[in-house]
Amino acid sequence: MYKYIFRNSLFFVSLILLVIACKPTGIITKYEAQIIALDTTHVAKDDSVALLIIAPYKQKIEAEMNQVIGYTTIAMDKGKPEALLSNFIADLILKKANDYYITSDSQKIDMCLLNTGGLRASLPNGKILKSNIFDLMPFNNELVVITLNGDKTKEMFEYIVSKGGEPISGFKMGIKDTNAVNIIINNTPFDKSKAYKIVTSDYLANGGDKMIFFNNPIKVELLNHQIRDAIIEYFIEENNKGNKLRSKLDKRIYYE
C-alpha cells in the first residue's frame, strides 16, 4: 500500500522511503512505501564551496550573454500561417546557409523550412542581447541541406498545409482546403520533375516533428554551422553595417 503525504514548502525535501521486508531466504516478499516530508532547512541552502567554484564562470557568461549584438525596429513573434519572427528567422537562415554552402552542382539552396515549435522565445523591439538568441534557440541544432525529388518536395508542401504553416523562406504557397496551391519557388512555379535543395535543422532532417518527407532524400549535406550561431552572426554582421533589423508579413503562406 502506498500512502503519499505532500508538502509544497520550499524548505522541505520530499523523500520517498521504500522499505522492503525480506524473508530469511533473502527473497523480497513484500514492501510498503510512503512519502515522508522532512524539514530540511539544512540542505535547502546552497553549498558555499560550490558557489565559489561557479562564481567566475557565471560572471563571464553573464558578461557574454549581456553583449548587444544588434537592434530591431519591431517586436517579432512566431505564428501561423506566417509571422514576423517566423519569416525573419527563415529568411536569415536561407541567406546564411547559402553563404556557408559550397555547391557541387551550381544549384544553390532553394528553400528553408524550420518548425514553429523550435522558436522558443520572441524578439523585442530595440536592443538585442546574445541571451535573446539563446532564449529563442536554446538547441544546438546544426544546419543541414537536403536535396529532395519533386514528389518528396510536394509532400513537404502538403505537410506545411497540414500544420497550417511553418517558418519558410524562398517560396510562397496558398492553402486551399487541404491542398498546397500556386507554389512559387524563387519566382518560378513548382516543377514536380525537378529536385530542390532545402535547408533545415538536423533535428527536422532526421524526422523530427514527423517531417518524414526528409527520409531517404537524394542527398544530405551538413553545413557544420549551428542555427543559433548563424542567427548571432547575422545580427553582428548587419549591426556592423549599421542596419537595424525588421520583418514583415508578405503572404508567403496564405489561405485562398
Binding site: 521486508a21 546552497d46 546544426e142
Partner: protein, 309 residues
C-alpha cells in the same frame, strides 16, 4: 549505531509510521548490518543553475550548489556513500557552450562522485572535447560497451571498477547507447559500439562471480524503455543476471518509486532514474548482513528545492 538513530529520527520527523514493516529496523539493531548508501543522478545537462520558477515541470528545482549541499549533508550522516552519474552531464545551458563541461566536472569533483558513464551528449564537442574534459574529472568514466582503442581517448575510460565500502565489495560497470544515428559520426569517430546486453552479461558475471562483489551496479545511458529495436534498462533488467541495481539515464524518466523486477535467474534487480537537469537525487540504501551477505533495500528519490528567491 548512528545510522539507526537517523533512520528512526527521519521516520518520526516524517510523521506516523504508517503500517511500516519493522523488519529492517529490527535487523539494524542486530548491529551486524552494513549500510551502503547509493546516490545517483542522470542527464543533469549543464543545469548549473536551478530551473527557473516558470519551468512547467521542475519549477525552482535543482542547481549544482544545492545538490552539493544535500550530498554533503548525507555524507555527514552516512558512512558508506557511493555517488554515481548515468551520463549526459554535458549540454543544455550556456555553461556547456562556453566551457565545454569543465565547470560541471569540477563541481562533480567537489561533490565527490565515485564514477560516471558517458551519455550521447558527452560527445557533443567530439572526441577532442572529451579528450580535453575527461582529465578535469577526479572520478573515472566507466564504459563497458564502447571501445575507444582506435580513438584519441584510448585509455581514458575504464570498462569497470571495484570499490570497497566498509568491507563490502561493489562492482560498477557502464553501458552507453548506440551512437550511430544519434550522434554525428564526426563526433564519435572510430568508437566501436557493442551490444549492451552481451557486455552487461560479461561484466556482471566477472564482477559477481570472479571478483566476488556483494553489489553489482550498472550505470546505464540506454534509456528506461524503448521499442524492441533499441536496448533499454527495462529489457536489460529482465534478461540479466548478476546485476543488483541499474542507475539509468537518457530517457529523462522520473521513477518516483524504483522499479523492482526479477532477472532471468528470478533474483531481484532495481532500476532507478531521476528525470533530468538535477531536479532530483536518487537514493538507495542497501543493508548487507555481514555473516550471510543478504541484502535489504530502501529507496529514496530526493527532490532538490531551491530557496534562493
Amino acid at each position: 549505531m548512528s545510522s539507526r538513530r537517523d533512520f528512526i529520527k527521519s521516520m518520526i520527523m516524517g510523521g506516523a509510521l504508517l503500517g511500516l514493516n519493522a523488519t529492517p529496523l529490527r535487523l539494524l539493531a542486530k548491529n551486524n548490518l552494513i549500510k551502503i548508501t547509493i546516490l545517483h543522478t542522470n542527464d543533469t545537462h549543464s543545469r548549473i543553475e536551478p530551473f527557473p520558477y516558470s519551468d512547467p515541470k521542475y519549477p525552482g528545482l535543482g542547481g549544482f550548489a544545492k545538490r552539493a549541499a544535500l550530498i554533503k549533508e548525507i555524507r555527514k550522516k552516512e558512512q558508506n556513500v557511493l555517488l554515481l552519474d548515468a551520463g549526459d552531464t554535458f549540454q543544455g545551458s550556456p555553461y556547456f557552450n562556453f566551457y565545454g563541461g569543465e565547470l560541471e566536472l569540477k563541481l562533480m569533483n567537489e561533490m565527490g562522485y565515485d564514477a560516471a558513464t558517458l551519455g550521447n551528449h558527452e560527445f557533443d564537442n567530439g572526441l577532442l572535447g572529451l579528450q580535453k574534459q575527461i582529465p578535469n574529472a577526479k572520478f573515472p568514466f566507466i564504459c563497458s560497451n564502447y571501445d575507444f582503442s582506435d580513438t584519441i581517448i584510448n585509455g581514458m575510460t575504464k570498462p569497470y571498477i571495484v570499490l570497497m565500502k566498509d568491507d563490502i565489495k561493489i562492482g560498477i560497470f557502464g553501458l552507453g547507447i548506440e551512437l550511430k544515428g544519434l550522434v554525428d559520426k564526426k563526433n564519435y569517430g572510430n568508437t566501436l559500439y557493442f551490444n549492451p546486453y552481451e557486455k552487461a552479461a560479461e561484466y556482471a558475471h566477472l564482477l559477481k562471480k570472479e571478483k566476488k562483489c556483494d553489489i553489482v551496479i550498472c550505470m546505464s545511458h540506454l534509456g528506461y524503455s524503448s521499442n524492441d529495436k533499441q536496448a533499454c534498462d527495462y529489457n536489460l533488467a529482465k534478461q540479466s543476471k548478476n546485476i543488483d541495481l541499474i542507475v539509468g539515464g537518457h530517457s529523462h524518466t522520473l521513477l518516483k518509486n524504483p522499479v523492482k523486477m526479477y532477472n532471468s535467474d528470478g533474483k531481484i534487480i532495481y532500476i532507478g532514474q531521476v528525470g533530468w537537469g538535477g531536479a532530483y537525487l536518487g537514493r538507495f540504501d542497501f543493508y548487507i548482513d555481514k555473516s550471510t551477505r543478504k541484502k535489504f533495500v530502501e529507496n529514496n528519490t530526493i527532490k532538490i528545492f531551491n530557496n534562493q528567491v
